[in-house]
Amino acid sequence: MAMDSSAAMTPPGDVNREAGRDVILAVNNIEVIYDHVILVLKGVSLEVPRGGVVALLGGNGAGKTTTLKAISNLLRAERGEVTRGSIMFQGERVDRMSPNELVRRGCIQVMEGRHCFGHLTIEENLLTGAFTRRDGAAAIRQDLEKVYGYFPRLRERRKSMAGYTSGGEQQMCAIGRALMSRPTLVLLDEPSMGLAPQIVGEIFEIVKELNASEGVSFLLAEQNTNMALKYATYGYILETGRVVMDGDAEMLRANADVKEFYLGVSEGDRKSFRAVKSYRRRKRWLT
């Protein structure tokens, strides 16, 4: 996407932010309820600058996945609902749109837990990612090659049914599939889960490269805080449905709590997993 959208297109609610910053995604104070009774998000706000890589951190059940699904409008398929707040993507309100329209506009999600099409081959899986594209078979072919370039293992397994491939192979497939849609914003939910360390590194390199060379923005929900904060420019920490802390990646990395709870370094040293005690310190932001 060209950089033609200017500051004028940013939503008015943004004026208190640094003026002139180009925001591709703005989530304003959303509340999400599942099954009409389970309140999961209690007013979450965040934004992703154009060309930014933003990390969404937080423990189990904090609501990261829910936030991403609210953005990509996949909530309705799980009987969840955004009951308050708004979501703007490229200056447009998108919370009533179908996921399809959103993908068409360049926002795609890689779901947690892979969700490949088990009965389609790896290659067919990748091709479905290009469903919304209208730029011809040649271009799609080219991108397919690119994805194979990123994940050589997928090329080897291209004719296998995705359902039979290993967990990590499926994860690569899911990411590759999303890239096939030529997105401007990718919502990555736990991309590193189940991947070998080497591949995790590669995936983050890919994120970096796409971000740098094609200006793709990323919002990543990640448990691998170490990696996430290394590659992200900005981070939000979510706990039980609320944003409890946000700031530049550097700043977060420097924060003592983040260090202890998310990075596993206290007093400068990495501690051994063997040495863990069951004793827990309260997080300061919870008090």
Binding site: G168, G194, A196, R274
Partner: protein, 276 residues
């Protein structure tokens, strides 16, 4: 400290000591497994000694999960033999493996989605419940007594894993990390001799990983349950395991103590990418 928490009378009373600590509990000999043209495992041999934490690592698609599937009888290898507690076999049914004392967790959480946490873990005790169908019809009396006995054990596990709060929640609605914990609970409820863990820490943040490590160590130390662990987090693997076997494309490329393995150039090339 922790062994007091779970040191109740019920849990792990069925200790089998036919294999001494440090002796091989399970040996895998020359196992090969093919799916059509795909060679998932080729000619792999290793052993798991009683009481140790044995890690299996390797790049994605190396055949780690398949190895576990072979061990507990879900896949039948075309070649090779497996012996558990000295008994050698070519193929057996998964339920048979379970009865022998092998239990496991799964890479893609395989909980019983429609049931509560409690029921899931109770289901893990099925093998230990003896009251027959006709007692069940009339739930009161012996069947209920038995049920209550097992409930005690299950509650101990629940306490141990710190999942008291979600005892009655349907597991489908739990966040991923808790689901993994429940799954561990279910596997523990079987009182296994050998516990197979398939990426138990995937998708967890550091804090949760720490918890999980503690549980695993406790299970291993306090009850002498032998553990086979697949994990991609090198920190965890190096810290927890006694010995590591490394697979690549179905072949074994290294086997040894964590430090040796970490230093092996083959492993760095195939898996780690950079030296850790």
């Amino acid at each position: 400290m922790s062994n007091q928490i779970i040191g109740g009378p019920g849990l792990f009373s069925r200790r089998d000591d036919s294999v001494a600590k440090g002796e091989p509990l399970l040996t895998v000999e020359n196992v090969s497994l093919r799916f059509g043209g795909v060679r998932a495992i080729s000619d792999v041999s290793f052993d798991i000694r009683k009481g140790e934490v044995r890690a299996i690592i390797g790049p994605n698609g190396a055949g780690k999960t398949s190895m576990l599937n072979v061990i507990n009888g879900f896949y039948h290898p075309q070649e090779g033999r497996i012996s558990f507690r000295g008994q050698t076999r070519r193929r057996m049914r998964p339920s048979h493996a379970a009865a022998q004392g092998i239990s496991r967790t799964f890479q893609n959480v395989a909980l019983f989605k429609g049931m509560s946490t409690l029921d899931n873990i109770m289901a893990g005790r099925t093998l230990h419940m003896k009251r027959g169908f006709f007692w069940q019809l009339w739930r009161h009396g012996p069947a209920l007594d038995e049920e209550i006995r097992h409930r005690r054990v299950v509650e101990e596990i629940i306490d141990f894993l710190e999942i008291e709060a979600v005892r009655k929640t349907p597991v489908g609605k739990l966040p991923y990390g808790l689901q993994k914990r429940v799954e561990l609970g279910r596997a523990l409820a079987m009182e296994p001799d050998l516990l197979l863990l398939d990426e138990p820490m995937a998708g967890m943040n550091l804090e949760e990983k720490e918890d999980m490590c503690r549980f695993i160590l406790d299970v291993n130390n306090a009850f002498g349950v032998t553990i086979a662990l697949i994990e991609h987090d090198m920190g965890v693997v190096m810290d927890l395991s006694d010995r590591v076997v490394v697979l690549e494309y179905g072949r074994k490329i290294a086997d040894g103590a964590p430090d040796e393995v970490k230093a092996s150039q083959a492993v760095i090339d195939a898996y780690l990418g950079v030296a850790h």
